[in-house]
């Protein structure tokens, strides 16, 4: 039983940006309104779906819906759907289909595919409530939908029941996002001990980076890159991009650029690589080239981090109207797709501090890692609550993460709080990594550093802000 393709097309057209998540939401909301066309496969799963059934009541119909796209993953999805319709070994193929949707979500940055994967798990559980495969799939989906507590609960059940290395990795991921780094390290080590591979090495690299060990992160990510396979281009592109980022942070620009080029040769138009490439070009004030790369990246993955960076590039290139347009869209949709980055964006520009604070606090409810603490600290500071901002900032810095934005925020908050020595120290550390900051943040950092040099600290009462006039502070390049 399938949603008619033309209906899906109309649905997408109506929504405006064909992202499947919204389609799924609408399908759910209007479950009774759509008509399904029965297939004629005898004795197949498809036949068991009653005509005119609502998709909401029949997740199988949802996961068997037609998919557009013609890449390898799309073809795999279509093949798996057909196997399920054929009605043999359905549980196995549903599990495979679920993971194919996960792969598609990673490739396309469309979280709607995670919802489809979740529906696969749901169908399997309807047939076999004890299915560990379904639990694993569901836990992975929850993790990617930022439902970390639920993911942790399922992952703990899995490691207790059978303890595969991948399950320890999933548990570590859920713990890490909740800021429980020591427990996450333990879970990752179990994963590594059971099976060292790309996934284990990449997690070790990220954990080392979080703990401020950049050289160790590079070492581990090199092992991950070595373990990457042409059969899994997205994973290979991902680990190469992360290694490029580490090299960029270490000041090895040539190596970072080569890594990015290689990642893009493996996975053409890979959004995370394009984003990093754009950021590296921004660091060199090559605004036009940066904007080109970031346009592509933001088109593929229109979330706040990408749009914010793109707006900075466009503004640097003198395209103020375009930059403002991007920011307007960001204000309109950003809170729903990435509240944490939206909070940072608003706080950085001193816009709607109360909204920024609300978003950051909400995020902290589910995700309490160092970056959410930083977003909350920055929002608190923007709202004028420096005492709480100081406390949150200490939490953000507690793990020793070497991150330019953390240091920049810590320096400004310390300065505003009258902690001169701390301000100087954090601003200095931020300056050492200033290539990682956005142009407007770099400008403000320079201002702050200059101010610090003159007065040995900021005036406690001086309002910090990259503010609404940031655009004026950032020197636009003349377009030729």
């Amino acid at each position: 039983m399938l949603l008619k393709p033309e209906k899906m097309k109309i649905l997408k057209k109506t929504i405006g940006d064909g992202r499947i998540l919204l389609c799924v939401a609408l399908v759910f909301a209007n479950a009774g309104l759509f008509i399904f066309s029965p297939r004629t496969k005898s004795k197949s799963e498809a036949e068991k779906i009653p005509a005119n059934a609502a998709i909401f009541d029949n997740p199988l119909a949802l996961v068997l819906g037609p998919q557009t796209g013609e890449n390898r993953t799309d073809r795999e999805i279509s093949q798996l759907q057909q196997r399920i319709r054929d009605g043999r070994n359905v549980e196995l193929w549903l599990d495979r289909l679920g993971w194919a949707f996960v792969a598609k979500a990673r490739e396309s940055f469309d979280p709607g595919f995670y919802k489809l994967a979740e529906q696969c798990a749901r169908v399997i559980e309807m047939r076999n409530p004890q299915s560990q495969e379904a639990t694993l799939l569901r836990a992975h989906v929850f993790q990617n939908l930022h439902r970390f507590k639920e993911s942790e609960m399922l992952a703990r059940r899995l490691v207790q029941q059978r303890g595969l290395s991948f399950e320890y990795g999933l548990l570590g991921d859920a713990l890490m996002e909740q800021g429980k780094l020591n427990d996450a390290v333990e879970a990752y080590q179990r994963m590594m001990n059971l099976k060292p591979d790309l996934r284990a090495y990449a997690r070790a690299a990220h954990m080392r980076w979080l703990k401020g060990d950049l050289a160790g992160a590079i070492e581990a990510m090199q092992l991950a890159v070595s373990a990457a396979s042409p059969s899994d281009a997205e994973s290979a592109a991902w680990v190469n991009t992360r290694l490029a980022f580490y090299e960029f942070q270490a000041g090895h620009v040539d190596e970072a650029e080569q890594r990015c080029a290689f990642a893009l040769s493996i996975q053409k138009d890979y959004a995370p690589t394009l984003l990093l490439k754009g950021k590296m070009l921004l660091a060199q004030s090559r605004f036009r080239e940066a904007a080109d790369a970031l346009q592509d990246a933001a088109k593929l993955n229109p979330v706040p981090e990408y749009q914010w960076t793109l707006a900075e590039a466009l503004r640097g290139d003198g395209c103020e109207d375009e930059a403002s347009g991007i920011e307007a869209r960001l204000r309109k949709h950003g809170a729903s797709s990435d509240p944490r980055t939206m909070a940072l964006f608003l706080a950085t520009r001193n816009e709607s501090p109360s909204t920024a604070l609300r978003l950051a606090r909400t995020e902290l409810g589910s995700r309490s890692d160092v970056f959410t603490h930083d977003a909350l600290a920055w929002s608190l500071a923007a709202a004028g609550n420096l005492a709480e901002a100081q406390k949150e900032m200490q939490r953000a810095l507690a793990e020793g993460t070497e991150d330019a934005r953390l240091f920049f925020h810590a320096g400004v908050i310390a300065s505003q709080s009258g902690h001169t020595a701390d301000a100087e120290r954090w601003l200095h550390k931020a300056s050492e990594l200033s290539q990682l900051l956005l142009p407007s943040e770099r400008d403000e950092l320079q201002n702050a550093a200059a101010c610090s040099a003159e007065t040995k600290a900021f005036q406690p009462t001086k309002p910090f802000s990259l503010g609404t006039d940031t655009a004026r502070k950032t020197q636009p390049q003349t377009k030729t």
């Binding site: 591979d197 090495y201 070790a204 040769s265």
Partner: protein
């Protein structure tokens, strides 16, 4: 429902005694769920058989990795992984029954680039000779012998170079007419006929050792898709591995190193990766370079392979990763039940024979005798085994007279000097006495599973099979035996 085609062969019955080393299902191309995510370390097949070169017998061993390697993929190529430890293990004497390695042969790779400032990762132009200026990516390897009888004493046997992958225009000499547009060359009967790249990279390590490491065609053949699609076999079957390559490490071991030819040895292989600690302590934080052994933890075994099809066809999903992590020493405790009560035999009986063969489902001590411990057992006392070439009717490089893909089921036998076998020392000419390139391990395994080899005379049902009776590229009858790698520019999958 399409049934397995089988033909009863009375001649075969006489050859099958209860101690016949039997079989199982599909080779290890899609085995443990976790290792399939790590193809560089994912073993495909292990081979082991007796050859005789210029009057000197030796043991040929080989290990394949990278299942379903698509020829010609780029820019990120399939290459041996510098951070994987590839090992071929040989058990002798009492170690065979114990499942313990007596000697281990390690392959360790090192990758370099002539020019890193290019997107042309592997080829800068047409490669005329291995290692010439147009070969950008250079892999070399070191073979080390570890003697477990002497406190794991390590001896470096030598180093070799990996030939380029068969891309097409860039690597014309792999292909027919030395033209990169043509399909890969067929198998040959003599060393002088081998393609240039292979010839240039067969390494004489001295002392009777020869090695080769590089891309080859995947010589395994079988309708794996149909077997794992609820045994819905078809006629003709489709070779699931057709058109795909693997990466192969092959090593000729002189029998003097193993204690002579009056014995049965066991062969298996493993791959391992380095464990690292998630966090380095403060003292460990210093400038690092990738692969610095001082900064890396112990090797952790991530894959294991002995007889074809055991982990994939007999071991349950829940235990597949455990199999990958463990040694044959623990097979009797952990995995014997999968051989004694093979689920696949039950499925075949129920799905294909409507339950009419209950004797094949339980108490399969004959099957356990082959797989437990999971080593390929090779009787070294025989003459050299017969080799597969281009088939029986091909003039240029025919199969050796008497060669049968079905081994003993096809009347292809050898004579042992050290065991009675089926009588007068007659033993199988191919798997499960060793494993040759060209052995139809799927058909042999299915036939053994549906037969009852524990009674005298044994009840043979078959030979049965999957409808795939030959590889898509012919084998070489000279080292490294495995067929020429498929051309990235000109190959096809059925």
């Amino acid at each position: 429902m399409k049934k397995i085609t089988y033909l009863l062969s009375r001649g075969v019955i006489a050859l099958l005694a209860a101690h016949l080393i039997g079989a199982a299902q599909a080779s290890s191309h899609m085995d443990a769920p976790l290792i399939t995510l790590d193809p560089a370390a994912n073993t495909t097949d292990v081979y082991a058989f007796v050859q005789n070169e210029n009057g000197t017998k030796s043991l040929v061993t080989a290990l394949g990795v990278y299942p379903f390697e698509e020829p010609g993929i780029g820019p990120n190529k399939y290459n041996f992984d510098d951070n994987v430890l590839y090992q071929i293990h040989v058990a002798t004497g009492n170690d065979v029954a114990a499942g313990t390695a007596t000697l281990s042969y390690e392959f360790k790779f090192n990758t370099t680039f002539r020019n890193q400032n290019t997107i042309l990762q592997s080829y800068l132009g047409v490669i005329n000779d291995v290692g010439d200026a147009n070969q950008n990516l250079i892999q070399t390897y070191t073979v080390t012998k570890v003697d477990h009888r002497q406190g794991n004493h390590r001896t470096v046997l030598g180093t070799g170079t990996v030939p380029p992958n068969n891309q097409g225009i860039a690597t014309p000499f792999y292909n027919q007419g030395n033209d990169g547009n043509n399909p890969a060359k067929d198998g040959v009967a003599t060393e002088s006929e081998l393609d240039r790249y292979t010839t240039e990279t067969i390494k004489n390590l001295g002392g009777g050792y020869f090695s080769f490491a590089g891309q080859r065609d995947d010589g395994f053949y079988g309708d794996i898709n149909a077997i794992f699609d609820l045994l819905q076999l078809r006629s003709p079957g489709k070779d699931s591995q057709a058109g795909f390559n693997i990466h192969l490490m092959a090593l000729v071991i002189p029998l003097t190193e193993l204690g002579g030819d009056q014995q049965i040895v066991g062969v298996y292989a493993t791959t391992s990766r380095r464990q690292i600690t998630i966090l380095r302590d403060e003292t460990g934080r210093r400038p690092v370079r990738c692969g610095d052994p001082q900064l890396l933890g112990p090797w952790v075994q991530v894959a294991r392979q002995g007889n074809p099809l055991f982990n994939e066809g007999l071991v349950a999903i829940a235990d597949k990763d455990r199999y990958s992590r463990t040694s044959p020493e623990s097979d009797n405790d952990l995995f014997r039940r999968y051989a004694v009560t093979p689920e696949l035999a039950r499925l075949i009986n129920q799905i294909i024979f409507n339950g009419q063969l209950p004797d094949v489902e339980t108490d399969r001590t004959d099957i356990a005798g082959i797989f437990i411990p999971d080593l390929i057992k090779v009787d070294l006392s025989t003459d050299r085994c017969r080799l597969a070439g281009n088939g029986t009717q091909q003039g240029a490089n025919p199969d050796d007279p008497g060669f049968s893909r079905l081994g003993t089921f096809g009347g292809d036998t050898l004579v042992s000097q050290i065991q009675p076998g089926f009588g007068n020392g007659v033993i199988p000419g191919g798997w499960p006495n060793g494993r040759r390139f060209g052995d139809d391990v799927v058909d042999i395994a299915v036939t053994a599973l549906i037969s009852n080899l524990r009674v005298n005379p044994p009840i043979i049902r078959g030979p049965a099979g999957d409808g795939v009776d030959f590889n898509d590229v012919a084998y070489n009858k000279v080292f490294p035996y495995e067929s020429t790698p498929q051309n990235g520019r000109n190959h096809s999958h059925p």
